[in-house]
Symmetry: D3
Subunit: 326 residues, 6 copies
């Protein structure tokens, strides 16, 4: 119908559809009802869906993740009080739609994700915030990051290390992206870290191997002793001033907070803790991010989708803060 009423910010950015005029259950199904890439002249941040889950080892279904996160993002409003910024007003955020990649051929899919992300980044110059999809997608995304920013510090929120070597002989799966990335020289081994790790491992050697690949580790249990503020300090110390890629596997949250995921582990973070850590990272030089492993068939009442949408919102807030300052 007629164009939905989207406010333009003082900085000239087209924002989300106004929810006091068009009900949030109506209107365009983009992330937060933001404009599509083709609706605006330029983009500072592009939200990209990668509906892909052929790399999953247990519960599949993350292929439906991007649509689910977008649906859950309808509840977002324009002003982020904790960061005191308008994530959609201080920068032009767009929804770049989905990459449609081959669900039957992992290699072809990884190549297509790399190509698609590179094209989008090159065409727009935008920072990419990617909605997964399973964690396999982090590898091709990091390849693109490396090209543009050199090796990046990876800030990885997850229950799992994702630095295993192979499953069933397969080197490219959702459990191995960060080993491959480290081997390929994509990450800054002096500044990367995992947050929220927990649950059983394959062997005692997993931990030293992971460290060699360049990661420090904040275990989920440490939230009991360090608190959010302490974790923030640990993370900031590790990351320093490096360009940072933030990768959020939604299973970093406890299954109570994120039932809709593929390899849930008890003993996880609350959504308040996860958002609290993110909000503590103001000033970080974020060059890209993903939120992965949302598997809607196991979700209930959009719990997991809402948590993921808030994570994206906070990431956008951090990007906006830095841009404001720049």
């Amino acid at each position: 119908m007629q164009d939905p009423p989207r406010p333009t910010s003082p900085a000239g950015h087209v924002g989300a559809v106004d929810a006091t005029v068009v009900p949030r259950f109506a209107g365009p199904p983009t992330f937060a009802r933001l404009p599509r890439l083709d609706e605006v002249a330029r983009a500072d941040v592009a939200i990209l869906g990668v509906p892909f889950d052929a790399g999953v080892s247990y519960r599949p279904g993350a292929r439906f993740g991007p649509a689910h996160i977008r649906a859950a993002s309808r509840l977002l409003r324009p002003y982020h009080p904790a960061l005191a910024v308008e994530p959609f007003g201080a920068q032009q955020v767009v929804d770049a739609g989905d990459l449609g990649v081959n669900p039957f051929d992992l290699g072809a899919a990884i190549a297509a994700i790399e190509d698609g992300a590179r094209s989008l980044a090159e065409a727009t110059g935008a920072t990419l915030v990617t909605l997964g999809g399973d964690h396999t997608i982090a590898l091709p995304l990091l390849r693109v990051m490396r090209e543009r920013h050199g090796p990046v510090a990876v800030l990885h929120f997850d229950a799992h290390l994702d630095t295993w070597d192979t499953y069933f002989g397969a080197p490219y799966t959702h459990g191995t992206p960060f080993r491959r990335a480290s081997e390929e020289g994509l990450i800054d081994r002096t500044a990367s870290c995992h947050v929220g790790i927990r649950g059983p491992l394959y062997a005692a050697s997993d931990l030293p191997e992971d460290a060699e690949l360049g990661f420090e580790l904040v275990h989920a249990d440490e939230f009991e002793t360090l608190g959010v503020a302490g974790v923030v300090e640990r993370v900031r110390d590790r990351l320093g001033d490096a360009p940072v890629y933030v990768s959020v596997d939604i299973d970093v949250l406890d299954p109570a907070y994120a039932p809709g995921t593929g390899t849930p582990e008890a003993g996880g973070l609350t959504s308040r803790e996860l958002l609290g850590v993110l909000r503590g990272l103001d000033g970080l030089h974020i060059v890209g991010a993903d939120v992965v492993e949302v598997a809607p068939a196991y979700d209930h009442a959009e719990l997991t989708g809402i948590a993921a949408a808030h994570v994206v919102y906070d990431l956008l807030g951090l990007l906006a803060r830095r841009r404001d300052r720049a």
Copy 2:
């Protein structure tokens, strides 16, 4: 990203995204991944969402119906074998998005639906197939039909008559649109009928009052004796050559087939029966249609959404057949 690959039919119509190239769980969230209204030059049929449920007397939630039917429509393919037609190839079908109407003021909403539908019909000349929303929306839609086609025969699939007078003194609700429509002279009282009626009524007088308002009635139980073919015959006899508005309340299906609805009644139709009746109506002069009362919060595994999407697909097939012939 780049434009999704949508085939153009021999007749020059832009179809749905090709599911053998872009996975059905990816790509644009329009109905059946068809083009948006603004993506093509003209439209023969426009699919319009009306996310509205303030007229509901029991379980609310049909406000989320349009998005749910669209999601479930991703499984549709281009060729309809039972009707031997390509519903998206023989005519230009577009998704016209949603009308965003006031959820707090029934009167304002009804006026906005009438205005929105009229504008869309006038601007495009397209036949409207509307995704509800609750059954209240049939009234403003029928007003637009009346303007363009004169009084129309209403072919109404429903468990309920929807010709009650008022609830709590309110004349405009999801239980009253066809009484109001009849009173306003919108319908052809010699050619309208209900199919699938069942369940308790308010009073014995409901039936003669309904007849006076211009409706004949095929009770759900009659499917046991008449079969689909017999019902088709009854319906065709009643409708004759009149211009027809088809209104499908998804609760015409048994709750086993359509749990996601607001006022379920046991003893309903199977989806095969409903689709069978529709497929029997080849040649009918359909001037508009709606599919209403899909309430996703009560759905499971998209059962109700899939049934509704198939109903829309069959309606599009009927429209395409007639256009083919014309």
Copy 3:
């Protein structure tokens, strides 16, 4: 608050709360929002809950059945068009609440159900329509029937025979009530029958043993060949003029129609078939009835509860028809 507006019928019976004045999601949680036993002077039919499931061999949970059926009954309206009668107007129907019986001692529970039902029947003279609870409860109810009416014809809708002998040595369970009833002389062995039987048995001998206990049998598959009308004929022939106790195990419906039950079997009846058979029994001399095995934890969108509530409604309609005629 103030008394809810309940119409009094011409015959002087207090009916259900008027749903055009008090929304159906409000008001008293009695069956169909009818008066409680203590709110009216007399009762023709008393609806009695027996929340009990200690006799269940597979999925438990029928203890929550009465509350679930009552909740689902809020959608019932006053006039039954298929039977052309007002089930709540032609007779005084009341909700007699629940019998609270021991969940840990099957023997004590059975005795308490027998005592409770007898007291209620004696105190009011009402016909009892009981909401289970598991099928164990049919035995004590039949004992009370026998005292008041002599041996009764049992019209038993079920996927299962329920004439097995023992489980784990236990003679009183939900799989054995009709063997015990037959042994105790509670039923008329010349006029009882099962409808809807299907699924695997324990042994070939189950069928002749069942016949000896006094039952004829309409297999679910016979609905394909006989149709509803043919089944009605079979049943009427069998029952003749005997006083009839109708026992409806909701698992007579296919699991698609009644997922919320304890021992589901594929290949069952549709709700339209079940209601169709009931509606064909006009004139039957029903002296009591139960609807059992509704297990809400396995239900979805109240499917099973709604089907059960409609069964009760049709039973009330049959009772009302007969009373009208008397």
Copy 4:
């Protein structure tokens, strides 16, 4: 049947049905199986259902909230160890049933809620604890509070401020009650506060406007730093000795704890934190309370209903403590 066995406390108050004699899945469906208003001579506290949700901006369904909270309250027992009081023994608590109000006309509904609450308060003198329903209902309830107690301090637990001005031009919705209440002089602007606020706002100006309307604010994130004890101190400081109206929007809990609600926000309170704050408020002069926004269609395993029932139980405990002392 016979009256269920309800113990009478030493103080002469009729309590809940004894769960060691009548199973908790049986018996009257009142809150905690307490007596109805008409079953006892007097009432100190009246629990009132207001099944209404026409003021909802996103997910509807709170119309089914009162029945859901009552069902979940069956698990409550008589003695509150944390407060060392018998909430049903130290005072006469009754269930006053539901107010049945117009679902199609917000204005009529608000007037009817005001009238109904006033009548009940006047007729009984009881403190009202209201089960919503959506948050719109707080406005008419506060009007009644104002009449009886003068402007009251509002202690508001919520993810949202609910002091927005209008949606779609509508001044009375579930997002605006406290702005209207402040404008109407119903609240004590020196002593009101929000607890649990989080999530995006419409604009930076929302916060100063809210402060002008009379609210202080404890953000959900502050629970990480203050802990429950610190929040209690903040709240007690703010409330002082004022008469207090406690309004609990169940979405103050994280969606993990309260999935069954209409506008969920990640990063919320745990149920232990919410109950902990309430238990810290011993001695408060509570003059009325509500628990709102429970939308059962989105609940699972009665999670949200159970949390809401416990909130009501703690509120009753606080009332009982104060009465004990008086």
Copy 5:
């Protein structure tokens, strides 16, 4: 613990655990609680799980199908009244466990399924009844059939033809097994047929291409006119005396009966119809069978699993009948 009590049939076959002695919710988690392959000396029929779903084009999750069908099979009893046979008594049926195949490499998985099935068939001489997994697995299974029996007639129950050519360039997926099988000469092109086909196709040419590949077709709509008996006749005419491989995609059932599947289509069969057709095939020379596409994450109350388990039970009954006769 001690061995569960499993009766031995007069023919010397070890049956299922006795459900009147060990509750059906206890005991070994094999299909119907039958013995494992290693528990008995020989096997006439082996039930084999193939948890694999990398060939799925829409909703994944059939990898969890075998465990789900086994869980749902606990309700099966020893005697099949409609076929008058003891499926576990007239032959030795065993559960051969799962084939664990590579989820990341379709080619490797297909080869492993072929090898595993061949080894099992060779080692035991048993007829294989395979629990999927997605429909991709039919191809390697048919290769093994071909080796042992020559080209086989395929009796294929499905909503879809599964004779498409490629998706995303991939020749081996769940939508293509029967084209590949026909091309490889695995099937008898004079005696194969589909039953239950419905829903949209990719192109009008799909049907003649399918016919060339050797299939006749019974459309789901034909059940309305032919009835179960008519379909049986059509199928028997087509199959003649050929050795038959029965492949049942559970989506042949309507989504109401089988919500837990990957590509649901409205307008399908009832479970009574599907079982009715199977029961009509007494005497058929079945050499192998599969039941595929059960995706538990979308199931509810084990609906789909129960239907699938009954299908397996009927297939075992047909095998037992033929063996009895031999």
Copy 6:
């Protein structure tokens, strides 16, 4: 098929199936895919299922608990980083299958559980870790403990005291095992304690009575003030060096973390807190354990099952640590 690849640890113990070779959704359905009792020569720890719930006072369904916990345990890997031990490598852990006990006779069932547990313990010498089932089973298990170890300290995680006297006159239920155990002299009254207690009680006297029966108590609210470390200290002080039986009612977790249980109480523990306390108990002399009250019909996305499986895993880790040291 062929034996699944299970690694043997340096200590000679057969471990779980290797998940990098056989997908976790395939393979044997034992706990963590460990060997069955009959597959290995000896057992240090035996996991025993007791599918029984006839002692439940509210929501039944724990009879399906053992199968559910086993299914959820498929995600466990071999190395426990927090305890730095291989729970399946440092000792021989086996799955001993289920005890199939009478669901209709509480007394017979309790006797059978006692006999079965004793036989297993005597035959193998293994430490038993039992999967319930409802809490009734703790009594017969404690009788066996007493025989082998003398009175044991009970470390009881639960929302409820479970030291009530009778329900409906029944002395043996899921609410009474620890009173009976204390009366029978099975427990060390100087060293037992409850952790996580919360929610309403029957009477103020419940607490002193509980203390007399030998229990100290850590209330759930104390986690807010003591933190995990403080609770660990309290528990270790209480238990001292006594042989300890650990009994974990999964409802000790908040319903958000464990919806699938029979008598949920708001305000509970997080899974991180529960696992944190367990991990703090290194060195404890555990002689047996149970995890009970998992009711899958109320679970979602296996939340509760996963939490329970992790609890079992941590208990196995504690046993392995002590064995390592011995």
